[in-house]
């Protein structure tokens, strides 16, 4: 060969993980164990959860970031959840999570109380390929005495050391601000437990407000929070966290969240005044967006929401 000949082009094209929302959510059949990212009403995978409910998925086991909110309450309200490993579910300063509270009082959903340390300990056991992970910090609490998550506790330093069993969700649903089509994900706010949830899960679906070019990701490698090899599907869902917040893109929609909670005073009211008009009736994220007042209204949120 001639060493001065032009360099050959790459033979094969790298595989894009960009996926339509409906296809991505097909990775979550009924009965799956699902991890939900975000914290309180920030970075909730709302569009994905809306789609799951529209597709009639049910019988889920769920785990969420230690403080969870909208996505969890919505799935519970829609009757899609059988078992839930949770530390805290609320709408933060706005108040209680209505469906979670009702389900906890009625026993309709098996709620397994953990806390940050027990949930993260169980996820970390998976990351470290251990049957369970020692957690020493629950001494004196009813969690240590009552939570099935605390596990058998004699294995590592005595009876007051918990040992949550390895927790490995089938699918993790996340919302972040940006990713490339290869699944390299960036956050403008706080990633919180999303990377841990992703690493502990068999499959990872990330919804982002905006797809960016791989070159853009490569300009700031330190900003990549979840590298592409962890991700199975990337879905571009503008405003996909709404009514929750996506830092740098839009704030949480306090008006819609307050309306959600007001509708949630009764199960029937919540179904007729929230689930029907905002989740079941819109057939696409675009129709959802129109139902809540359109992109223009959401864009204004960052400045008007206190």
């Amino acid at each position: 060969m001639d060493a001065s000949s032009p360099p050959p082009a790459a033979r094969t094209v790298r595989t894009s993980k960009a996926t339509a929302l409906s296809e991505a959510v097909a990775l979550v059949p009924s009965g799956s164990f699902v991890a939900l990212g975000g914290l309180w009403f920030h970075n909730n995978p709302s569009a994905a959860v809306h789609e799951l409910i529209r597709q009639g998925v049910e019988g889920l086991t769920i785990v969420a970031a230690p403080p969870s909110s909208y996505a969890v309450d919505l799935l519970i309200g829609a009757g899609a959840v059988r078992t839930a490993y949770l530390a805290h579910v609320s709408f933060d300063h706005l108040g209680m999570a209505p469906n979670f509270r009702r389900a906890g009082e009625s026993g309709e959903v098996e709620i397994i109380d953990g806390d940050e340390a027990l949930l993260l300990g169980g996820l970390m056991a998976t990351l470290e390929a251990l049957p369970k992970h020692p957690v020493h910090s629950l001494k004196g609490t009813d969690l240590l005495r009552r939570s099935p998550l605390a596990g058998s506790s004699d294995a590592f330093g005595g009876a007051d050391v918990a040992a949550p069993a390895a927790m490995a969700p089938d699918v993790c649903l996340l919302h972040a601000q940006e990713a490339d089509i290869y699944g390299n994900v960036r956050y403008e706010g706080t990633p919180f437990c999303d990377p841990l949830l992703a690493k502990a899960s068999h499959k990872v679906i990330v919804c982002v407000d905006r797809l960016v070019d791989n070159d853009e990701i490569r300009r700031e490698p330190h900003l990549t929070v979840i590298p592409g090899y962890l991700v199975d599907a990337v879905v571009e869902t503008p405003y996909g966290a709404h009514p929750c917040a996506s830092q740098g893109h839009y704030a949480h929609d306090e008006e819609r969240l307050t309306a959600y909670m007001a509708a949630g005073r009764t199960a029937a009211g919540w179904r007729s005044d929230y689930l029907e008009p905002y989740v079941l009736r819109p057939r696409t994220p675009q129709e959802y967006l129109a139902a809540v007042g359109g992109a223009e209204r959401i864009e204004r949120l960052a400045s008007v929401v206190s």
């Binding site: 309180w40 230690p66 109380d113 940050e116 340390a117 609490t141 009813d142 706080t190 830092q247 960052a302």
Partner: protein
């Protein structure tokens, strides 16, 4: 004359006074008051205090308050953003000096319930609470400051129905006997009083706020108070404290809403 402090402003100032320079403080859910207290203490006497929000954001300086302690808008201008593993290790290693808790129930030994009430009547709770993300912080943090926007016999109870966060357990040496080496609750601030704890780790009135009668405190507290009135009065906010809070920390008046 300026407006009198609101209840949230007063509680913020009272908590700020308890924070020491150089401490590492972390807040939880629904924590507008303790977040504001940390930011105020940084302005007043504790510039080396480090505030970590429950989202892992370190030393935010947004120029205003956001009502959600997890709001993404605390990130721009902060000094760092912690990871999930940071969170796990902090839940374990005792690096934190101060943690703040509110509660659905707080009992006379400073134990906190945010999980459920009425569990003595069956497997299902009468009331299901939100739960507490960071239960473990009550065991590992240097000390705990309790706060409650409500002060009623239903909030301040003899004994929590579910012990979500460990206070002084059954009082006396029971916290230490359980193998917990940290100090536990040292203070509880409400719209009526500041509580502290006696040597038997029973919650007692340290001082009663301006405009509140001793009788009202007794009537609105659901457990027996170990000392008798009259109780000292709470030193009111100074003009400096209030001006700093309103001008520098809470320019948009979230604590006055």
């Amino acid at each position: 004359m300026t407006d009198a402090p609101t209840s949230d402003e007063l509680m913020t100032i009272l908590i700020a006074r308890e924070l020491r320079n150089g401490e590492l403080a972390v807040t939880g859910a629904s924590s507008l008051v303790p977040v504001a207290a940390c930011l105020l203490a940084q302005q007043l006497h504790a510039p080396d205090l480090t505030l970590i929000l429950p989202s892992g954001v370190v030393n935010p300086r947004p120029g205003r308050l956001y009502r959600s302690a997890a709001d993404g808008r605390w990130v721009p201008g902060a000094e760092a953003v912690g990871s999930g593993y940071d969170l796990f290790e902090m839940s374990e290693n005792g690096r934190l000096d101060v943690m703040f808790y509110g509660g659905v129930q707080i009992d006379r030994h400073g134990n906190v319930n945010l999980t459920a009430t009425g569990l003595d009547q069956g497997p299902l709770p009468a009331f299901r609470g939100p739960g507490l993300a960071n239960t473990s912080f009550a065991v590992v943090s240097g000390r705990i400051i309790l706060f409650s926007a409500g002060h009623t016999p239903r909030t301040f109870v003899e004994r929590v129905d579910y012990l979500t966060a460990a206070g002084h357990l059954d009082g006396g040496s029971s916290r230490a006997d359980a193998g917990i080496t940290t100090q536990g609750p040292v203070l509880c601030v409400t719209p009526l009083v500041t509580f502290d704890f006696d040597e038997a780790h029973r919650m007692r009135v340290r001082s009663v706020h301006h405009g509140v009668s001793d009788d009202e405190v007794v009537a609105r507290t659901g457990f027996h108070l170990p000392t008798e009135p009259p109780w000292p009065r709470t030193p009111p906010p100074t003009t400096d404290e209030l001006a700093t809070l309103r001008h520098i920390v809470d320019g948009t008046g979230e604590l006055r809403a």
